[in-house]
């Protein structure tokens, strides 16, 4: 990846907080910091993998970037425009260029709408096609995602999970976006189906010049598809680097532990490799202590870690990590 490449999406100090539960009847509501001061640049044409465990804020970040959640603070730029400063009409136009597919395709499709109509709907809303041209576009899209255009009058429940995800993908791609957030798109699929969808995503990226934010907890799949990878923990990006660099030379203790926890598919190596085990669970993102968010589980924790939250520092070659020990 060349450093000079155009930045398609950028976030500056982006935060998204939710109101948490009230600890007791009379006290103030706690704040849940789902995304905290995230600075991220996504280059045109790349696949940025976003990994982390459940509750780390990766999905919230994806949806906040698309302005599906209004950010609490910070800025989002798309093709250089600050999207919070856009007027409603301009934002709607921008929506065409950024799309999302979710983990559960069935709940993102209207069960009472034939799939052809579901795919046509965004084209109609954005006035991009009508009449026979619309029909043709829908057929093309179905073919692009590997489905028979003859199935356009069927309903979502008549398809398998993998096919439903293809339909959701066709609907997202109908408006020819340049940026696609794929939020755990293959997590509910079987292994043999996952591969088919990943290959489809890769082919579409080449054919349509797409940029992906690929959100996943499956590190093996991320290694396969991503150009760069960002690791999230409790709302923060703790490490980001080129894909091979991150997997071969992880610097942050959390990334190292995460990689070490992934079961590997070589039985001999699996039994001999060194493991880093994290104790305990991910702490609640409500009322975190001062200092590094990872301190409660970090095997290398130092007294200094409780003092100040470490910044994401450049380590060379675009590899950045937020840890005082590296």
């Amino acid at each position: 990846m060349e450093p000079q490449q155009e930045i398609l999406v950028e976030t500056r100090e982006l935060s998204k907080h939710f109101r948490g539960p009230r600890p007791s009847l009379m006290s103030r509501r706690a704040t849940l910091r789902a995304v905290e001061k995230v600075n991220l640049r996504i280059r045109r044409g790349e696949v940025l993998g976003l990994v982390g465990e459940s509750g780390c804020g990766k999905s919230t970040l994806g949806q906040t970037i698309l302005n599906l959640y209004p950010p609490t603070s910070g800025e989002i730029f798309f093709e250089g425009d600050n999207i919070q400063e856009l007027k409603m009409g301009e934002l709607r136009l921008l929506r065409r260029k950024m799309q999302i597919v979710f983990q559960d395709p069935y709940s993102s499709l209207d069960p009472r709408m034939p799939i052809g109509q579901a795919i046509a709907e965004p084209l109609v809303i954005h006035k991009m096609a009508s009449g026979s041209e619309l029909e043709e576009r829908v057929s093309d899209l179905l073919q692009t995602v590997g489905l028979n255009p003859g199935l356009r009058n069927r309903y979502p429940h008549e398809f398998s999970g993998g096919q439903q995800q293809r339909i959701a993908l066709a609907r997202a791609l109908a408006v020819t976006p340049s940026f696609l957030v794929a939020d755990e798109p293959i997590s509910s699929m079987d292994v043999s189906i996952q591969g088919q969808l990943i290959n489809l995503l890769e082919r579409l990226r080449e054919q349509m010049g797409l940029t992906y934010l690929f959100i996943s907890h499956d590190l093996r799949m991320v290694r396969h598809i991503a150009d760069r990878v960002a690791v999230m923990y409790l709302g923060r990006i703790v490490e980001i680097a080129d894909c091979d660099e991150l997997f071969d030379n992880a610097l942050h203790p959390y990334t190292q532990a995460l990689l070490s926890a992934v079961p590997i598919t070589d039985p001999t190596a699996a039994r001999t490799r060194k493991r880093i085990r994290l104790e305990g669970d991910v702490p609640s993102p409500i009322d975190l202590p001062a200092g590094c968010v990872f301190q409660s589980r970090c095997p290398l924790v130092q007294p200094e870690c409780a003092e100040k939250e470490p910044e994401l520092r450049e380590m060379g070659g675009g590899h950045r990590a937020a840890c005082i020990l590296v």
Binding site: E53, S54, S160, G162, D190, V191, S192, I193, Q194, G195, Q196, I198, N199, E202, R203, H217, L219, R220, M221, R223, H224, C243, D244, F247, A257, L258, L259, S260, A261, V262, P263, I264, T265, D266, P267, T268, A269, A270, R271, R275, R277, L278, D281, V282
Partner: protein, 327 residues
């Protein structure tokens, strides 16, 4: 070789539905030796969970019923037992761990009582003994401050900790066999790794046998000694874990292994895949159930169903055109 702890022979569990008779377990045979960890792998709908439920005597009826075969646990055929005896056998000889601890545990009962109840009923302990023992067990499965947590309810535990509580209940009567059905699937990898360590400890310290049911070949590589691969209600391959990963015999196994990217190296080319989808149980293909998706399929595969046979020096495979065979 010692006598097998669990011996399943030609097991057939059918579901009697409006669409007809489905055969999620269609002549499954395998064994688990003492001290051995055996993986049962397959994709959703291949019949692996129904196989587990059959062994545990928990097949939902209706629509399900075991219609044939034998399940020998420690030399005794479970299918011949009356309900009452089976219930005792189940608790004392097999521990069960399910995927979703929040539905397997009783939400209105303190976890200490749930563990103690099992021991009081099946081990003849009185309440005081059981409570004492429950603390030990919770401590054994790695729950910090075990004594205080006995009086907590399941919802007060995190997902990983709830899974540990379920393991505690499964091992409290000291069964020889643990049956685990996707116990780590819903968990994050760092929590999954903790639980895999716990299971490893249990099998090394106490010499438990484990039947581990999963779709994740990575977990199998980490944990199991021997593996069975299921497809469409049948075991299509059985081998030691080293053999299976090194020299898969069945094209389906090979396809599964190829379609998984690895963490160790990046493959530049696109992922290999198995085209198509697993068959609908109501409309099974003729011959070998895998033939519509198999690149090696011949006319024989369409007509004749292959049986699970010894192949090469070790391992079993049900295929007319097995791969990687050297004599």
């Amino acid at each position: 070789m010692s006598e097998s702890l669990l011996q399943v022979e030609e097991l057939e569990t059918h579901l009697f539905t409006k669409e007809g008779v489905l055969k999620p377990v269609n002549g499954v045979s395998f064994h688990v030796d003492r001290g051995e960890t055996v993986g049962l792998v397959g994709e959703s709908g291949c019949g692996k969970t129904m196989t587990a439920l059959s062994i545990m005597g928990l097949v939902p009826n209706p629509p399900g019923r075991i219609v044939g075969g034998a399940i020998q646990l420690d030399g005794e055929d479970l299918l011949q037992l009356d309900d009452r005896t089976l219930r005792t056998r189940r608790s004392v000889q097999m521990g069960m761990i399910f995927q979703d601890a929040s539905t397997a545990l009783n939400p209105t009962m303190r976890v200490g009582d749930q563990i103690a109840e099992t021991m009081q009923r099946h081990m003849g302990m009185n309440a005081a003994e059981a409570a004492l023992h429950a603390t030990e067990i919770l401590d054994r499965v790695g729950i910090p401050a075990a004594e205080q947590r006995l009086s907590d309810y399941p919802h007060q535990f995190s997902g990983g900790m709830r899974q540990r509580v379920m393991i505690a209940i499964a091992i409290c009567c000291n069964p020889e066999l643990l049956i685990a059905d996707e116990p780590t699937t819903a968990l994050d990898v760092t929590i999954q790794a903790q639980l895999l360590d716990l299971i490893r400890e249990l099998k090394e310290d106490v010499g438990k046998s484990v039947l581990w049911i999963t779709h994740d070949l990575g977990v199998v590589a980490e944990l199991c000694d021997r593996v069975m691969v299921m497809y469409a209600g049948q075991v299509v391959e059985e081998a030691t874990v080293e053999e299976l990963f090194l020299r898969p015999r069945h094209p389906y196994t090979a396809g599964l292994l190829d379609s998984m990217p690895t963490l160790e190296e990046r493959r530049q080319e696109s992922l290999k895949t198995i085209e198509g989808m697993p068959p609908n149980m109501a409309r099974m293909p003729s011959g070998c159930a895998f033939h519509p998706r198999c690149e090696y399929a011949s006319e024989r595969c369409v007509e004749e169903m292959p049986v699970l046979e010894r192949s090469g020096r070790e391992g079993l495979v049900a295929c007319w055109h097995p791969l990687n065979i050297e004599e």
